[in-house]
Amino acid sequence: MDLRYSEKDEEFRADLRTWLEREVPAHGAPPPVNDWPARRAYDTGWQRKLFDAGYAGISWPKEYGGRDGSPTEQLVYYEEIARVNAPYIGVNFVGMLHGGPTLIAEGTPEQKKCHVPQILTGEQVWCQGFSEPGAGSDLAALATRAEVDGDHYVVSGHKIWCSFAQAADYCELLVRTDPEAKSRGITWLIMDMNSPGIEIRPLRTLAGEGEFSEVFLDNVRIPVSNRVGKENDGWRVKEVTFRFERGAAFASDMIHLKQFVSELVDLTRRAPEGPQGWNDRALRRQLGHFSAELDALWAMVKLSVCESSKTGIPGVGASAVKLFYTDLYQRITEFGVRLLGRAALSRDDVAGLPSERILARSMQALSLTIAAGTSQIQRNIISERILGLPREPRPAPPPRPAVES
């Protein structure tokens, strides 16, 4: 049980730190949240800089432009980008954190060549097309149909919660290729977002932002060569995608959360005697408690990274990390809102209090226990796949409605 970073890791850290300290201030402040063209330019511009400096895709193979670094270099990378508050991964999230890794694990040589390097350089932005209005947690109920016509799939259906669809070039799309089977009738496709027949309608979140959309597909033609894995094998491929999503994908956010707790400490110490002040022992202990939980969470990430370095794919234990992290995130941001007192009624900073940041985080936090598999689904995964508890009996299908004569 060795927690020491190697000399090589520490050299990497020193180089990265020097580079970040120069480049982060130079990249400027992020654009307004709803300005998608500007956001795309800002996020992919940062991705390009990372790539040119050799810091994109730390764990990705060299042949695609990655660094082929060790899992511990990946941890160092997360620690350092959070330390300087580097630009958020933003529109590159889907491509970098699950699309790309899924293609590396499951894609054909052509697919890898066409997409993986371009994701790394920021030339290709990806979005996710998994959920549907009738298939959220019950993802295997998805109905978007794909029928073979020559060397194309012809796809029609309705996807929802497609993060970054407005800014994306490609979509990781799950479609139904066998209407009779449930999870065994699903296929994983790469969809070009510029294909005819795609309509994108942004959804406004409770935070007032448009980070995801509904996507309507009307006879969209997707080459059969864009299929990842075999036909009807998409359920297994998606499992690979999910493990990446639930594993280390949140690592940098966890370190940002540590900084957030430190900011809350500063906030309470500004008026130590007040009702939300540092001299309140219960409040102080609560902050210490959060910090202890975050330290334990980071140790858990290290355990899980070292474990998955054997297989190259995060294990199912990633569900435990996600459950704990998202719950902790919500408790910490709720506490932040409490510290604001009446200033929390304003989404703009007021009376010198950081309402904007705290409220933005606390509202964002509500999505974390829903996205990438709800907390309830994670608990099902843990209890059935790790703890070996019996599956809940599925209800019998409803009787067919009687045909009126």
């Binding site: 049980m1 430190s262 210490g288 408690h289 334990a296 140790a299 290290k302 355990l303 099902n380 599956r391």
Partner: protein, 325 residues
């Protein structure tokens, strides 16, 4: 970094686990109530297993392992709620003659915390007192102490000491501070073991107990409760392992924070998981007959050793504030 168990550690854990399963099976726990939570012959066997001399250098007849290894061993002892002053006797290995071999049974007390309640007093040959000024050795036979008729944990007898004598100083404040950190880490390991064992008991019971015609473990309400127990166990494991590894390699992080985090998280995991285990057992869980209560009561005892959740939370908060100066 290789934050995983190596072959030797897996073997060490397996060895202690099979010893505990054979020597202190769950249905033997109640018998300790008749022996005031102590059994000399078991103590000698634990010593032979290496529980006390584990971290003593090989040149001194010890096993020469580190704190991370001790965490694995103590987690196994926690799984079977093995009674006795395990942590104190282990800490005393280099300080008190005979502690490492089990010939001398050593207990201890944090002298500045009122009321002063000494555990296992009647089984002790030596009592250590931790003060900010150092480590002090006290002869337990000379203590004026009143036995507590009904200790919370039936396997952890208690005496109340109104006036703790000064004793003989055997080590300075640095050693006292070091023992506090190591003690908190080993207590965290025992608590981790409790969190694991109570989840295991809940799982086993929920797979065989039937209601509404099927095992209660198939109901989502039950499954989600046990999934939460699993998360608590895994976070506690990461924190306890990290505390052990940090004590062995101080360059990897802040020792106080790592130990504080482990003590806070593992205390909560043990308390919550034993509580949840009682809930899974339904009415039977509330009886003396089902051994879950030993686990819950031991968790309470351990939560109050080497710094409580609140004390460690406070310390971490002060450290956070200092870091912002």
């Amino acid at each position: 970094m290789d934050f995983q168990l190596d072959e030797d550690q897996l073997a060490l854990r397996e060895g202690v686990r099979s010893f505990c399963d054979g020597r202190v099976p769950l249905d033997s726990l109640a018998s300790f109530e008749e022996t005031a939570g102590f059994d000399r012959s078991l103590w000698t066997e634990l010593a032979e297993l290496g529980v006390f001399n584990l971290r003593e250098p090989e040149s001194a007849g010890g096993v020469g392992l580190g704190t991370a290894d001790a965490v694995l061993v103590f987690a196994e002892l926690g799984r079977r709620v093995v009674p006795g002053p395990l942590v104190w006797s282990h800490l005393a290995a280099g300080l008190v003659k005979g502690a490492a071999t089990g010939e001398t049974v050593v207990g201890g007390v944090e002298a500045d915390i009122e009321p002063v309640l000494v555990e296992h007093l009647e089984s002790l040959d030596v009592l250590l007192a931790l003060r900010d000024t150092g480590v002090f050795r006290i002869d337990p036979r000379e203590l004026e102490a009143a036995a507590i008729a009904t200790p919370l944990d039936p396997l952890t007898p208690l005496h109340h000491v109104a006036n703790l004598p000064a004793g003989e100083k055997i080590a300075g404040p640095e050693v006292a501070q070091r023992l506090r950190l190591e003690g908190a880490t080993l207590a965290s390991a025992l608590l981790l073991g409790i969190a694991e064992a109570t989840l295991e008991m809940a799982l086993e019971y929920s797979k065989q107990r039937e209601q509404f015609g099927r095992p209660i473990g198939s109901f989502q309400a039950m499954k989600h409760m046990m999934a939460d127990m699993f998360v608590k166990q895994e976070v506690a494991r990461a924190a306890a392992y990290a505390a052990g590894a940090t004590l062995d390699q101080p360059s990897v992080g802040d020792i106080d924070r790592a130990v504080g985090s482990a003590k806070i998280i593992s205390s909560e995991a043990a308390l919550r998981n034993s509580g949840a285990c009682i809930q899974v057992h339904g009415g039977m869980g509330f009886t003396w007959e089902v051994p879950v209560h030993y686990y819950l009561k031991r968790s309470w005892v351990l939560e109050n050793c080497f710094g409580s959740i609140d004390e460690h939370s406070e310390r971490v908060a002060i450290a956070l504030a200092d870091a912002r100066e």
